[in-house]
Point group: C2
Chain length 293, copies 2
DNA sequence: CGCCGCCATACGTTCCAGGCATGGACGTGG
DNA sequence: CCACGTCCATGCCTGGAACGTATGGCGGCG
């Protein structure tokens, strides 16, 4: 009897929510589809997993037996994927360095140079991910090591803060704030702020400084998935965006002006890599970054 | 990223055979289908698992990394299925006793009576399986305990031989051998013998006494999946079949005559149950059978 | 040099996950 | 007591994926 890990994930969520409707929302599928899939899983197992009434859903003994096993299966498959991708990269003798936007900034370039000098035979593959995707990339085996912007979910990863950067705000060159030398977070009270749905809410809130020191919530502007989209929005709509100082020099844009925001905490940049990594190149790279930091 | 355990099984077989054509045969699918599925798995992993030329297939580093993980995943899912089914049965307070054909014979009935006397609240569910399917049924969680006819694959199971039965041969009442009191295996030299493809070859060979003491191979008759089919064939074609003594009294058939085969080894019947079974009823049942044996 | 074995590609069919609309059971509040 | 809302199940349709058959391309071997 075969299963798809997707079915197991579905089952786990229904078991956690004890509601098909809520679970369907969390899984971004329609409730009827979810109902049918679970029914099918039950049919193939030859055992009911839930008792359903129109007012309550509960696990059966069989369901309780499956829940931890299903969680484990899903986790182990994720781990297998990471292993396979890591092995493929190792065979090609490459080191894949993940980052989002400007990643580790200047430190990253110095580290890469030092690493290439030390290991001339190894190909370095910089891998750019969307907002908040660096840590997941390492977990999923799409990168061997990554510069991660905190806050971030670092479960299953080793990490070390290697740099901090002050945060700046980008505004259109014609914007009143463009004439100021520096700004405070209070000055951005009524400015629509860029945001993204690809990163978790905590990440978005941290960048948006939400709630603001005065307790207010930012005004939300257009949504975007990466730097380029974000800067395009700022350049052509009425909003502003906040980014690390390095963004000013990495992404030049004729219509934008960058100004430091002096009264908010700086960005902390961590280097992250998988726990139990057997990849010697990763450890060598970590050591190099650590020395340069 | 999701996978079906079916895909993992496919991958394992290709990795074992190092040939898509041979693997496809073993898996009972067409070779192009198998090729495509493996390609798709590679695409989703973002890594090649095999290097293919028209003359050889070999694992890549990624493939070598996946192989043990895939084997483990498949095995763990099998185990999960068993757990779930066992839990469902336990919740209904039933004991599912697996067997094929006459199973444990007279012992089985005495054991069931004794068990029911001792545990009047427990429902006993006898579960009949096809030739050689009893042990697999326990492994798959379709039965809690089973009478298994040896030889059988008992990996992952505890077992204990609890009975033996002489083997008899069934012939049409009009058959020359029907007039004999008893027969030897040599007398069956030219008689077409029933066989099955649902049980493994070793099982079939053991029942057929293949090779025969004189080194010859039996003449093969029609194929069947269970007792009823087998006896129907014997009653209506020219073949014979061999079965345990209890079959004579459990399956009465007007056109058949049973005669003992005096010079072949008897059937050994084992009781088998899952290793690490936490089911108290199983252990109680085993104890009862052991005492009666 | 021609045949054969092996993997890949093309095409048509079948099946299933997914979405939307709706039905039926239950609980709640007016 | 009824009306309404909530929740799970069912019916119907669509798009995609898996499978089979037929066929192409490539390398090895007689």
């Amino acid at each position: 009897m075969d299963v798809d890990t997707r079915l197991l994930r579905y089952f786990v969520v229904v078991a956690e929510e004890l509601s098909f409707t809520r679970a369907a929302k969390r899984l971004y599928v329609a409730q009827p589809s979810l109902s049918r899939q679970i029914r099918q899983l039950e049919a193939r197992l030859g055992a009911d997993l839930f008792t359903r009434t129109s007012s309550a859903v509960a696990l059966t003994a069989a369901g309780r037996a499956l829940l931890p096993a299903a969680r484990r299966q899903v986790a182990e498959w994720q781990e297998s994927v990471r292993l396979v991708r890591t092995a493929a990269a190792a065979e090609r003798n490459v080191l894949r360095i993940g980052f989002a936007a400007t990643g580790g900034g200047d430190l990253a370039r110095r580290a890469r140079s030092a690493f290439t000098r030390r290991y001339p035979g190894v190909t370095v593959e910089p891998k750019r991910f969307e907002w908040g995707g660096e840590a997941r990339a390492v977990r999923d085996g799409l990168a061997d090591v990554a510069y991660v912007w905190l806050p971030a979910e670092l479960d299953g990863l080793c990490s070390e803060v290697v740099a901090t950067e002050r945060r700046w705000v980008a505004v259109k060159t014609t914007h009143p704030l463009a004439s100021r030398e520096e700004v405070g977070i209070g000055d951005l009270r009524d400015e629509p702020l860029m945001w993204t749905r690809v990163a978790p809410p905590e990440w978005v809130d941290w960048w948006a400084v939400n709630p603001r020191p005065d307790g207010s919530e930012p005004v939300w502007g257009p949504e975007n998935a990466n730097v380029e989209e974000m800067l395009e929005h700022v350049a052509t709509t009425s909003g502003v965006c906040i980014g690390p100082e390095s963004m000013k020099s990495f992404y030049v844009h004729p219509d934008l002006t960058w100004r430091p925001v002096v009264d908010i905490e700086p960005l902390r940049i961590a280097l992250a890599w998988p726990e139990h990594s057997a990849n010697a190149l990763v450890h060598a790279f970590v050591e190099i970054v650590r020395r340069l930091a």
